[in-house]
């Protein structure tokens, strides 16, 4: 045995990582994405890496396997695992490192498992290929891990195929796969990001438990500070490939030194005061039900809600709760099977084709993925200008002046007129979509998860913009989201949806204060709090199991 006692588990010094960018129609060029990061991790400890997309968190995580995704090269620095510089390792040494000493848990378990092999075969694979133990022993280890991770029927769980278990269970199966060869270090790359909040909590708790029991070292990568606060001992904040701040979890959460960290910590604290309902409702749904063709059950069941002028109704629920379908029903893309929709006091035809141009104009929509909500072949001027031309017959200079005005309102300015969507960042794209909706001078805008695909700080900016615009334009929003923090920030009224039903509906202050029904309680309690020990508190006080189990 080598003198491993004196070595840290991971010791990264001056790590630089570069990549080659191949943009269509341009010459390939090299860029640096990580600019000299130092990092140490002791055995059995958990380090949280946190930052926005593009901060280099995953790239750094993968570098501990001496690996870079397509086109990524480690250009400088040293990486020691147990005192051994892995960048100098030969291919066979690396083979010994990967999947044995260091293992990896990816964000999307569904995309990482082979759909045509049983879970057990895939989980014991690395033990067997490294010749660590017999198949029997490996399976015994796996079953023990299933137990630790709280998976149902641990003895037979491994006989299932990936599609036969839920998303949360699959993510835990992947954790079992990573822990099975008893590695020294596990890289968790956003393991709970793709899960619903109520499922995330179970996965988080089981990962934490497994780390504690096996005494493995871990690097936990996420963009959600509240999540990482629950599992890690130390946190490193990254931005644009540079370290911003490093400290113990307690220090980062309760006593951040840098402005950027402070912004991340306070992100979920914007709270918007409730606007009371007044006047005739803009949109009123009465006992609306809808189903997709070919289904023999309703996806939206008997929903009745109202939206008043200049108000925001937030529709909250997990994936599959029917909230996006509800939006499709309102827009007429999926005609309601039953019930009536009243818009501005008039009955709104259920099907899109039967609605008048005026009705279409007054009801606009903003999508989750701004990338695909804009035609990539049109300039920003065309995208925002089209509703002006289409609804108001504006042309030439008049149209352009109004587009510029709208660009100013979304804080972008005239310079964007001639740009194409591909030349914009995620937040800018979403702003353009907002401007396009506003151009029609609507009375109601349906916002379908408009901030979910954005980084927290950018999302915060979009929410503030939406609130500002509401005051200027006197528009109502129907805000569909799975994120309670967003709801707190923007809503006046809330409808909680669960399996197609509205289980709780009313003013924000009422819906968010006790007494709760079981589902709302589960949903609210599952939203990670920015404090230590939150996870343990919640697990011990929950009334209902999450839908994922």
């Amino acid at each position: 045995m080598r003198d491993s006692v004196t070595h840290s588990l991971v010791d990264i010094r001056g790590l630089k990582i570069g990549a080659t960018v191949f943009a269509p129609g341009e010459k390939p060029r090299d860029i640096e994405i990580v600019h000299g990061v130092d990092l140490t991790l002791e055995k059995g400890k958990v380090l949280g890496l946190i930052g926005e997309s593009g901060a280099g968190k995953s790239t750094i995580g993968l570098s501990t396997l001496a690996y870079g995704r397509g086109g990524i090269k480690i250009t400088g620095g040293e990486i020691f695992i147990n005192g051994e510089d892995i960048l100098k390792d030969s291919t066979s040494d690396l083979r010994n490192l990967r999947g044995r000493k260091v293992t990896y848990v990816s964000q999307s378990a569904a995309a990482s498992f082979n759909p045509s092999k049983r879970l057990m075969d895939q989980i014991v694979e690395s033990c067997l290929s490294h010749g660590l133990c017999s198949r029997k022993d490996a399976e015994r280890r796996a079953i023990r891990l299933f137990e630790k991770l709280g998976l149902p029927e641990p003895e037979t769980f491994g006989n299932r195929y990936p599609h036969q278990v839920s998303g949360g269970q699959l993510q835990r199966a992947m954790t079992a796969m990573a822990l099975c060869p008893e590695p020294d270090l596990v890289i968790f790359d956003e393991p709970t990001t793709a899960l619903d909040v109520t499922t995330q909590i179970d996965v988080l708790a089981s990962i934490k438990e497994a780390i504690r029991e096996t005494g493995v070292g871990a690097i936990y990568i996420t963009h959600d500070l509240a999540v990482v606060a629950q599992v890690s001992d130390h946190i490193m904040v990254l931005q644009h490939g540079r370290m911003v701040e490093y400290g113990t979890t307690d220090q980062i959460i309760n006593n951040p030194c840098e402005d950027y960290t402070r912004a991340l910590v306070s992100i979920r604290s914007t709270i918007h005061d409730e606007t009371p309902s007044r006047g005739q409702p803009v949109l009123k749904l009465e006992n609306v039900s809808a189903r997709y063709r070919g289904l023999n059950f309703d996806v939206v069941k008997n929903v009745s809600v109202e939206i008043h002028p200049s108000q925001t109704l937030a529709v909250v629920g997990e994936s599959g709760s029917g909230k996006s379908t509800l939006a499709r029903v309102m827009t007429g893309l999926l005609p309601a099977r039953d019930g009536t929709i009243t818009f501005n006091g008039d009955i709104l035809p259920t099907a899109l084709e039967d609605r008048s141009k005026e009705q279409l104009r007054e009801l606009q929509m903003i999508y989750q993925m701004a990338d695909v909500a804009m035609n990539p072949r049109q300039t920003i001027e065309t995208i925002i200008g089209r509703p002006l031309e289409f609804y108001f017959g504006m042309k030439g200079a008049e149209k352009r002046a109004r587009v510029v005005e709208l660009l100013d309102e979304i804080e972008l300015g005239e310079g964007f007129l001639k740009r194409y969507p591909a030349e914009l960042s995620g937040g800018q794209k979403q702003r353009v979509c907002i401007a396009r909706a506003l151009a029609a001078k609507p009375r109601l805008i349906i916002c379908d998860e408009v901030t979910s695909a954005l980084d927290p700080l950018v999302a915060d900016g979009i929410l503030k913009l939406l609130l500002n615009l509401q005051e200027i334009e006197q528009v109502s929003y129907l805000f569909i989201t799975h994120d309670i923090a967003t709801v707190r920030a923007i809503a006046d009224m809330i409808a909680v949806m669960y399996q197609g039903n509205v289980v709780r509906y009313g003013a924000k202050s009422k819906v968010l204060s006790p007494p709760f029904d079981d589902y709302t309680d589960l949903l609210l309690s599952s939203v990670p709090d920015m404090r230590l020990g939150w996870l343990e508190d919640v697990i011990s006080t929950r009334k209902m199991d999450s839908a994922g189990n």
Binding site: A23, E26, L352, L360, M365, R377, F390, Y420, A422, R436
Partner: protein, 272 residues
């Protein structure tokens, strides 16, 4: 000034050269198309750059006039198949339902019949004329263009921006011409170059079999047919059309590649 990569420049030059020959054939050809100017299968010389053919006509002249027919028919047929195939495919996708079903199944049906056999049958009962050749080849190829264009358009049709246009209340015209077509163009342009070459090969095949171009007109396929016996005696006259087809195929695709690269850029072809 736009920067054109070397490969595209070569492709453009050669393609333009071929098209120029085709257009100005009577002006550039050294002799008349049917004029007998020498012995049978004379070798290359200063008078006859490519030698003479099986009855002593100047081969270069024959090749130039052949290019005229071949390129004209292939271009016209490609144009027909792309216009028709793309319009039908976009109509099928946007209208959906039974229109899509009927069109797609009909196209499937036509595609089950081997193209060459189909063409042979039709041409043996119809009078052989250039117009009929063009229409026949264009229609047969429409099925392939339709399949590609439909596959591409189906993907685009479900994009949120197309849905946004529908929610705005846009008509079918705008959705097809402004939302779907511009985004479907790149793969179609790439296919255009390829299909043009297939057309050249197709018309040559038909002529070689004696069903395409009939004398006194000629095309590259007919030249191969006339001179194929010479190969046995080591006379390379039949290879001239083959070299011409290969050169044209490569240069057209070099151009198509370049156009594809430019249209694939989502920044309006502008280099950042």
């Amino acid at each position: 000034m736009m920067r054109i990569p070397l490969s595209a420049l070569i492709g453009l030059t050669v393609t333009a050269f071929f098209f120029a020959l085709a257009v100005f054939a009577p002006l550039v050809a050294p002799y008349g198309i049917g004029e007998i100017v020498g012995d049978v299968w004379e070798p290359m010389s200063a008078q006859h750059w490519l030698g003479t053919d099986n009855i002593g006509r100047d081969l270069l002249t024959r090749m130039i006039y052949g290019a005229r027919t071949t390129i004209f028919i292939a271009s016209a047929a490609t144009l027909l198949s792309f216009t028709l195939g793309t319009s039908l495919a976009l109509a099928a996708v946007v209208l959906g339902g039974w229109v899509d079903m009927a069109l797609s199944r009909f196209v499937d049906l036509i595609m089950t019949i081997p193209t060459l056999i189909f063409a042979l049958v039709v041409l043996s009962v119809m009078p052989a004329s250039i117009l009929i050749l063009i229409v026949l080849m264009g229609l047969l190829d429409t099925t392939r263009v339709y399949r590609l264009a439909r596959a591409v358009a189906v993907d685009i049709n479900v994009m949120d921006y197309v849905e946004a246009a529908r929610l705005r209340g846009e008509g079918t015209r705008w959705i097809v011409l402004r939302e779907i077509l511009p985004n479907a163009l790149s793969p179609l342009v790439a296919e255009l170059g390829l299909r043009f070459i297939f057309m050249v090969l197709f018309v040559s095949t038909l002529s070689f079999l004696g069903l395409g171009i009939t004398p006194p007109e000629t095309d590259w396929g007919a030249i191969v047919k006339e001179n194929k016996e010479g190969l046995v005696y080591g006379i390379p006259a039949a290879l001239a059309p083959a070299v011409a087809i290969a050169t044209l195929a490569i240069s057209v695709n070099l151009v198509a590649d370049w156009v594809l690269n430019r249209t694939a850029s989502l920044k309006g072809g502008r280099n950042a």
